[in-house]
């Protein structure tokens, strides 16, 4: 007998194949595509996005979802059904025309941004962004009305199921109560350190070789993924073929190396999602915050720790040889340097939350209609001054145009970075208790036990549990910001 659930299963398998093609074409767009391919690519991706929407929101799917609740399903199937319903609900709300318009406007804005950012062309960028914001507000309104929540909460729920602006105000409010003081103390303390810029240039092929070696150390499966170059580093592709990117600068190698470590954290999560469930919603990563917890666990908890940095230092020397400024103490210092700066992706972990809170406050107001696109630069400058003491007036390139996120309407995404940082601290401290040898393992460069723990507690579960449940199973409690504070204080004070 054909059950409603098995019909749903087949439909979502089919959808995942289209998602596969859109992931490959999207990756290619960022890494390989020449400029004249842009228009046709955007149109092709928009067409696929319309198709995806049509299949997912077909009336039959709604009926099957109803019927399947009456069918005899095991735990995992029930979780899969819950995630199917979630996707359906999120999609069925939007008319096709809005889906297509958003996809086209986003691609256009992002493509132009690649030229406009280096040209500091805020006016040109704002023209495209206004269209993106208009469509995102329409989307938010539809979602908010259906769910009976605020417009911004409705978008937030797309990336971090269960999260609300009210909860975020609490969490971010707490951070604000101790972080600025801690930041100031650490900056003061680090004045005593003599940071030396290692003497470049660092040839790009050697930086790439270092990145590949570090990825190997971190267990990246090269039979199921690649490392390439893009303007904005990301982790894309599909679980069977994960594509991470970084960008290189000949003058220094640490940013690219740490970018690779970060994306490798995302990649290992993807590469270890439950194999037998791939193609089904329950096999997706739990949330953007949980995704980011894996990249930040790799980059910040593990990657910037003294023991890990010592353990990979020989790989650095292997590529670049002995050089002025390239001693292990300075290498550690540079990776633990706290220095408020303009660029979020280059920020240390103490300044990072300030960047996120700034964007959260702006995008929330933007979506709720309290401000307009033309208000962004002034707000950006005043908050940058207030939270980090930095002046960005007139500098759009490294101000509000530094990010790719808003270009395609990803409002509601930014908070997940800092949620991820806090989940990461909580998970890593728990792993340290669970694996008594972990610190020694890190020194020896043997991360097997850590990866096993992550696989058992996070990766293999995909979306089986809610984020709260996942954290509770793994650490005994839901998100607790104390872990993050404890981590920062023990590393930096």
């Amino acid at each position: 007998m054909t059950t409603a659930y098995s019909q749903l299963r087949a439909t979502f398998t089919r959808l995942s194949r289209f998602t596969h093609l859109s992931a490959v074409a999207g990756w290619d767009m960022q890494t390989m595509m020449p400029p004249e391919g842009s228009k046709a690519r955007s149109e092709a991706l928009a067409e696929l996005s319309v198709l995806h929407h049509q299949i997912l929101t077909a009336p039959k799917v709604g009926e099957w979802l109803e019927q399947a609740t009456q069918e005899d399903l095991n735990d995992l199937e029930q979780s899969n059904l819950r995630e199917m319903a979630r996707q359906y609900r999120h999609s069925a709300l939007l008319p096709e025309s809005l889906v297509e318009a958003k996809s086209l406007a986003g691609a256009r804005c992002e493509h132009a941004w690649r030229r406009q950012r280096p040209a500091n062309d805020w006016e040109g960028f704002a023209d495209n962004l206004r269209e993106v914001v208009k469509l995102s507000r329409q989307e938010a309104t539809l979602r908010a009305e259906a769910a009976g929540i605020s417009r911004y909460d409705a978008l937030l729920d797309l990336y971090e199921p269960g999260m609300t602006a009210q909860k975020l105000d609490g969490i971010f409010g707490e951070l604000k109560s101790w972080l600025p003081q801690l930041l100031q103390t650490v900056v003061e303390k680090q004045r005593a350190i003599d940071f030396v810029q290692p003497h470049g240039p660092f040839a790009i092929d050697k930086q790439k070789a270092l990145g590949l070696n570090v990825m190997k150390r971190l267990g990246f499966n090269f039979d199921a993924g690649r490392l390439d170059i893009s303007a904005h580093p990301f982790c894309g592709g599909v679980p069977q073929d994960v594509r991470i990117t970084t960008r290189y600068n000949e003058n220094e190698f640490i940013t690219a190396m740490m970018g690779v470590i970060h994306e490798t954290g995302h990649a290992r999560y993807e590469q270890n999602l439950p194999k037998e469930w791939l193609g089904q919603p329950v096999a997706h990563a739990r949330s953007m915050g949980v995704h980011e917890s894996q990249s930040l666990l790799f980059e910040m908890q593990l990657g910037c720790s003294e023991r890990f940095l010592k353990s990979i230092f020989p790989l650095v020397i292997e590529q670049f040889g002995e050089r002025e400024g390239l001693d292990v103490t300075n290498f550690i210092n540079l990776n633990q340097r706290v220095q408020p700066g303009l660029i979020r992706v280059d920020a240390d972990e103490l300044s990072y939350p300030a960047h996120v809170i700034l964007r959260y406050e702006i995008e929330q107001a933007l979506i709720e209609g309290e401000i307009e696109v033309e208000d962004i630069p002034a707000l950006w400058s005043s908050k940058m001054q207030q939270y980090l003491g930095l002046d960005t007036v007139g500098n759009y390139t490294n101000g509000c145009m530094q990010d790719i996120h808003w270009t395609d309407g990803g409002f509601g995404y930014f908070p997940t970075y800092t949620l991820g940082a806090m989940y990461a601290a909580q998970l890593f401290q728990t792993a340290n208790k669970a694996i008594p040898t972990l610190q020694d393992d890190i020194s020896r460069g043997d991360l097997t036990a850590l990866f096993q723990w992550l696989n058992q507690n996070i990766w293999q579960h995909g979306s089986r549990f809610s984020t709260d449940q996942l954290m509770k199973n793994a650490t005994g409690e839901t998100l607790n910001t104390d872990y993050f504070r404890k981590h920062l204080e023990s590393r930096y004070l």
Copy 2:
């Protein structure tokens, strides 16, 4: 009023967007994809191929095609309608299940071939190929019955509309009447030449730089395309973003360089198809034979000519410096060397037709059911011996497993190579008459007039005319093998 023709136009635009995605994912599969991505990629491409088939063969499309014949259409629209009907006819015959099975079997066979070829694993390869042949015969039978033609002719028509085995027997029969003697004479004559292998190694990054410089000279638009590496060189992507590939060998650079020149010929045709019609069937290249005429015009007519080789010799020296064996006379000799060998893609233009005729005879018998897959090696060996005097017994790697064409069921394709060579000779001799300065232009490295002539006579027309009409418009007559003979005799005797 919405006409049937405008409905068709919208449908084919939509189809071209899916073709775009399949082209990108297919290119990626050959150039970028790690091994574990293979299964999911094949499934995704098969899913898209099923979708394409569903959209193209929907009953409405058949009705619109009928109705549109009554509508008021201009010449180009009529040509577009004719090509739409051709695509519909070719697709509507095949049941979805066969389309999907063929796509899966082809992808599996091709993927395994990448390991099996270097391992000389004929048995393993034959297992997959049998499935491909079985499905191709089913396809051929359906097409043949509908069109009232033979099974092989029905496949031939997919690549070279209007071509038949009977015509080919005539053309290839004529070639066979003078080519073996000419080949022998030239091989004898060239015994007097002292060919020197230029002293390697030739670093791959320098070979790539040379390839890019030659592409520039040949007018490749780098804002709308790329050069990459794959096991089997090809020209893929879409007209707005043409992806060509080559493969490098550190021991010699001429094969890769000539491969790039060849694919650039394909690429320029694609890049210059009628812009305002892109996405519609009439904007497609006319046929595989005409496509190959452009690559062979670039590679053989132009690329291997004394004047062109002299004109690019400085680009060669620029990369590799003065070396033993790297003088201009020897460079020309090597490019005009006639030397029957095992590998089709490395063959000189005098031996090449023998490779094609051999494959034509085998694949025709295979599709007509006169032989089976296990008969291929023996037939291959005996024909290789007969046509080129070479022994391939037991050498599958460089025998019947050397090509990618049969792996995904591309039976009927091979003859287009030699048709292309003959069209190329006819077109180039006509261009030489039309452009009195052409030979001097080539020496000066200014190919503008030639490209204008090709654009006016071939590229910009897409599929507007039949191949016969296109050749007649361009050269005053349909295919005439005398041009090819004259070209070979004047270059080699």
